[in-house]
Amino acid sequence: MDPGFLLVQSLSGLASASSLFVIASGLTLVFGVTRIVNFAHGSFYMLGAYIAVTVVPWLLELDRSPWLFFAGVLLSALAVGLLGVAMELLLLRRIYKVPELFQLLATFGVVLMVQDAVLWIWGPVDITGPRAPGLRHGVEILDQRFPAYELFLIFVGPAVLGLLWLLMHRTRFGILIRAATRDREMVGALGVNQALLFTATLFLGAFLAGLGGALQIPRVSASAQMDLSIITEVFVVTVIGGMGSVTGAFLAALLIGQLQAFGVLIFPKITLVLVFVLMAAVLVVKPWGLLGRPEPAAGRAALPEGILHPRRFGVVEGTIAMLAVATAFVLPLFADAYTLKVATEVLVLALAAFSLNFLVGNGGIVSFGHAAYFGLGAYAAGLLVTRLGVPMEPALVAAPLAGAFFAALFGFFVVRLSGIYLAMLTLAFAQIAYAVCFQWVEVTGGDNGVVGVWPSPWAASRQVYFYVVAVCAVAGIAAMRHVIYAPFGATLRAARDSEVRADAIGVDVRTHRWLGFTLAGAAAGLAGGLYAFSKGSMDPTLLGIPTSVDFLAMILLGGIQTVMGPVIGAAAFHSIKDVFMPLTDYWRFFLGASIIALVLIFPRGLGGAYGKLRGSRPVQHA
């Protein structure tokens, strides 16, 4: 191949690596000190870009000088830094002690709120930014033209790395940050006001994200989707580099930049996949990333309190369960089409949520990518029907098999990790699946998905199909509930509460977790298959992060420490969403605010509140 071309390709990889590093360094710093994985870091990046496309043109009208351009970029970054301070003061400060899962959800709530705020302020149309005066030309490199601005970006990354190094090693603030990354409590016992330190760190982190976003405006236009796409990339960079390590993030960004630059030449279709494959490979060899270290004992669980002693139904609960099932089975006789549609979806989601809580509440495996198995089940069933002309019945058998297959495949790697790294890896695998469905257009239909996934003629009516879903969902939930009460479920709980002790008494923890993960994947796959036939279509959003978060919100709402809570949570969540979504254009804002409120006010969920009530009475049966 032409050496000039290869060089230019490599240089453009360096330019992307540089931008990626600037953003990732902020995330990894914030994580190091606060131990919070901030989903909203991507929102800060997006806000940096939006503020810059507003401020910079205004400044350039005064004078088209490069200095004003960069002054505008810095101003935007500063503004975003202040938003980071606001987030620390209003939200993060209240959740430092809550389990990691809740922190992730709460910061995702901020993502949703910012998305709608951006739509409200800047509108839905992408905004193209001005180009940098003085850096608009191209530079000749071995007969290839290379944009001068990209060349400039290549130097930004190392410059930021150098400045951060000076800050971290030559200033008291930096030394305190590094000390707090190891042992926050001790830093406090030595008289350092942690609250101030955390606020300052959030400022720095958000500033870096905003800077990354503002520097992008000559290359990419500001759009309302840039938050989630960057956050997954940045997660990958920080996880590969080692959470909390700035230098690690730099190395990882370089690696990913080159991988993308050359990967696009060799496998143009699966660049997204390559990145996640790299991440999975690194985590298997080095579970804490390239330069990361094992989590110091922070005295905090990844998990909220899970299912402790699963009690069997008492008389009241048994009656309620029977009534609920009975209601479900007579519902089609009198319900209108709309109610029946919502009820069908609730049953499907209840099955998916139950399978997620089988992992989270019972197994302590905090999956942030459960939508993958749901979506893969849907795609398996849907593609069989539309591409191969297979009828519904075998397709509905294939759905759980597909879910189980991919859960077994991904789970093999996932169960080797724990805590936040495990959550990140499940997220990464879900994004791989999402990327394949999104990019493999010939088979999956890409962004548009696949339509025409209809049930067999006998089940075509809404009423009959409702019965199909009801039978499958109730059977699936009953089966998994049985497993929770069986020795296998108890073993998973034992491994959740103390991996070391379970190991010491002879439990093969990894194999148990792996089987549990596979079982949950099968159930989610079945739910996905049922969902595809109820909608008649599927698209990549079924596998997206928002869907995974929806499932998590359901089990959180229902109560993670309860067995049946997820069912209640799914019903409540879906009904509320269904009622409120049509009422406002800004439903995401309210959903985000609700998730945050849920984490702050009801950390035990609705079902958990009932369980507590019940637990306060004397136990009536063994």
Partner: protein, 237 residues
Amino acid sequence: MADAVLEVEDLKAGYGPAEVLFGVTLALRRGEVAALMGRNGAGKSTTLKAIMGLLPPRGGRVRFAGRDLTGLAPFRIARLGLGYVPEERRIFTDLTVYENLEVGRRAARQGQGAWTPDRLFEIFPNLAEMRGRRAAAMSGGEQQMLTIARTLMGNPEAVLLDEPSEGLAPVIVEQMAEAVLRMKQEGIAVLLSEQNLDFAAAVADRAYVIERGSIRYQGAMEALEADEQVREAWLTV
């Protein structure tokens, strides 16, 4: 106690459902060294953590230099001039010796000479030789010296010293004893928790004995040494 710098009254604390302290009462006089003796699990470390605010007290009061500490955050307590040296040392392993000292640095109290790294290196000559070294590469004894030096950088009026001799080689234990006596010379009051009677006898003026979360004995260190009955009852394993 009239000249007490630290007064603990009926202090209660615990972890989750487990109660550990059932009303601990003790006092530390200005400039003295007092030993809090007791067996494993008696509540020594818990007492120090509860005084420092690292474990929220569930009852009782702690007064330091005339101020009520109850409910204050650890950093506020440290700023009032109460230093804390944890049992597990909790050195910042990624930082150099010098940087560890920097984390502990606080302005001196009025009318007091401030501790500087150079003054501390006189007391702990080992540390001087490795000021640029990462703390992870230090021996346990050296780390123990560093934790004390780090706390002294905060110019405390009194120090809580949790099990200073635990797990150290005899020659290091001797150095620790010297360090504690040096602190006393400098006018710093020290409350140390200890299982090792010899160590306590070498440094302490007075002793408290704690068992199952309550103080069972208090008196002069010599008196405890002489009283075989008390030692049998509360200290020997």
